[in-house]
Amino acid sequence: MIKLTVNGTMYERAVEPRMLLADFLRHELGLTGTHVGCEQGVCGACTVILNGDSVRSCLCFAVQVDGGRIETVESLGTVDNLDPLQAAFQEHHALQCGFCTPGMLMTGVDLLRKYPLATDQEIREGLSGNLCRCTGYENVVKAIRSAVEAGYGD
């Protein structure tokens, strides 16, 4: 049995050791906002925040995070009440198909909390572990830049 808090709700489940955290979130809890792309830690689509740090949920077994606190993209906002970072993504057209977006957002949240992101180069380096096949990244950088300027996470 593992016990963990996801987006403020405590869950207790019996899981097989080999169940990846990403699959646990999607299949056990029905939180399908976390996307699974490569399952090898390269694409960043499955990024969630564990105990305050962004992690790849495909490189983590659910059993390892017993007792942990997880934030997924569902913790950010709702369609009617977007989180300021989600609003910035919408404003700057930082997504097209949206597959990479949950990972971009959760990575963005961790970057905004941890680094000054004074230059676009810093934002680009910070996003370099998140692959997007549609936007060319330009608008994702702009969205995060605008969140920095709006004092997100201060």
Binding site: E16, P17, R18, L20, D23, E39, Q40, G41, G44, T47, L50, D53, S54, V55, R56, C58, L59, C60, F61, V63, Q64, D66, T107, D110, L111, K114, R124, E125, G126, S128, G129, N130
Partner: protein, 277 residues
């Protein structure tokens, strides 16, 4: 893909972890940032994973004389953010920016990277550069004796790395760390790290380490000797190119890697010289 099935244990003492490792095909799970992708690829199918993250007191950065002792479960990001690391070993701080991406640095551990032993990873080269000692549940191993080959270390099956001991650098030691990767955060095509001590504007002690150009990190002793013999940085870089025998793979040809090591050696030495006092 999904990883194959395995048994899982999360002991809360080193003794219990070591005992669990006596099972056949057991593997230590630390941060899992190398092990889990290999399992997802089904390159590895351990029967038992021994998760050492619940063992107390394996993650720390402690001052020890002029040096530092860093617990094996310390995450890369903790090293990146540590003030004492930045003050005493700025080369470690600088190198952390090249270790994968934030989400991997948040989760991956120093001990895990060292025990995995990827030839293109930063930590194995850094411990060799800084003449570190690797303390395990059985003994203390000098960094220079730790690797047998790519992904192969001197550790026994039931031996766990617990601490990395970095002796203090001589005051005024200059450093350089230069890496080239195809994409930001990707494995290095090659990287060169160097430290230099100067006396009257002459190099008295030089260490140069290359990663990504050999099965294990390699000290470039001929190039080091040319600098302490007061020959030029250019000559040392030429010697570095002759000291390695890199492989070709889909990322780069052997010739390109050799060229790269020459350029990176020159840059790392110039940076180290400039920073030395």
């Amino acid at each position: 893909m999904k990883p194959p099935a395995f048994e899982y244990l999360a002991p809360v003492s080193l003794e219990a972890a070591v005992a669990a490792l006596s099972n056949e095909d057991a593997k230590v799970l630390a941060g899992g940032q190398s092990l889990v992708p290999m399992m997802n690829f089904r390159l590895l199918a351990p029967s038992l994973l021994v998760d050492i993250s619940r063992i107390p007191d394996l993650a720390y950065i402690t001052e020890d004389g002029d040096g530092l002792r860093i617990g094996a479960m310390t995450r890369h990001h903790a090293v990146e953010m540590s003030d004492v690391v930045r003050q005493r070993f700025p080369v470690l701080h600088a190198a952390m920016a090249h270790v994968a991406h934030l989400a991997i640095r948040n989760r991956g551990t120093i001990g895990g990277s060292l025990c995995h032993g990827d030839p293109a990873a930063e930590w194995p080269g850094l411990v060799l550069l800084l003449n570190a000692q690797l303390k395990t549940t059985k003994r203390t191993i000098p960094a220079g004796d730790f690797y047998h080959g790519a992904l192969a270390t001197d550790l026994a099956d039931d031996e766990i790395l617990i601490e990395i001991q970095f002796p203090g650098l001589a005051p005024g030691t200059g450093w350089g760390f230069e890496e080239m990767a195809r994409r930001s955060g990707d494995f290095a095509l090659a990287a060169v790290a160097a430290t230099i001590c100067l006396s009257d504007d002459r190099a008295t002690e030089v260490r140069i380490v290359v990663i990504g150009a050999h099965a294990t990190p390699l000290r470039l002793t001929a190039a080091e000797g040319l600098l302490t013999d007061h020959v030029s940085i250019g000559a040392a870089a030429d010697a570095a190119m002759q000291e390695i025998s890199p492989d070709s793979d889909l990322h780069a040809s052997a010739d390109y890697r050799r060229h790269l090591v020459g350029v990176l050696t020159k840059r790392a030495l110039a940076a180290a010289w400039k920073r030395a006092a």
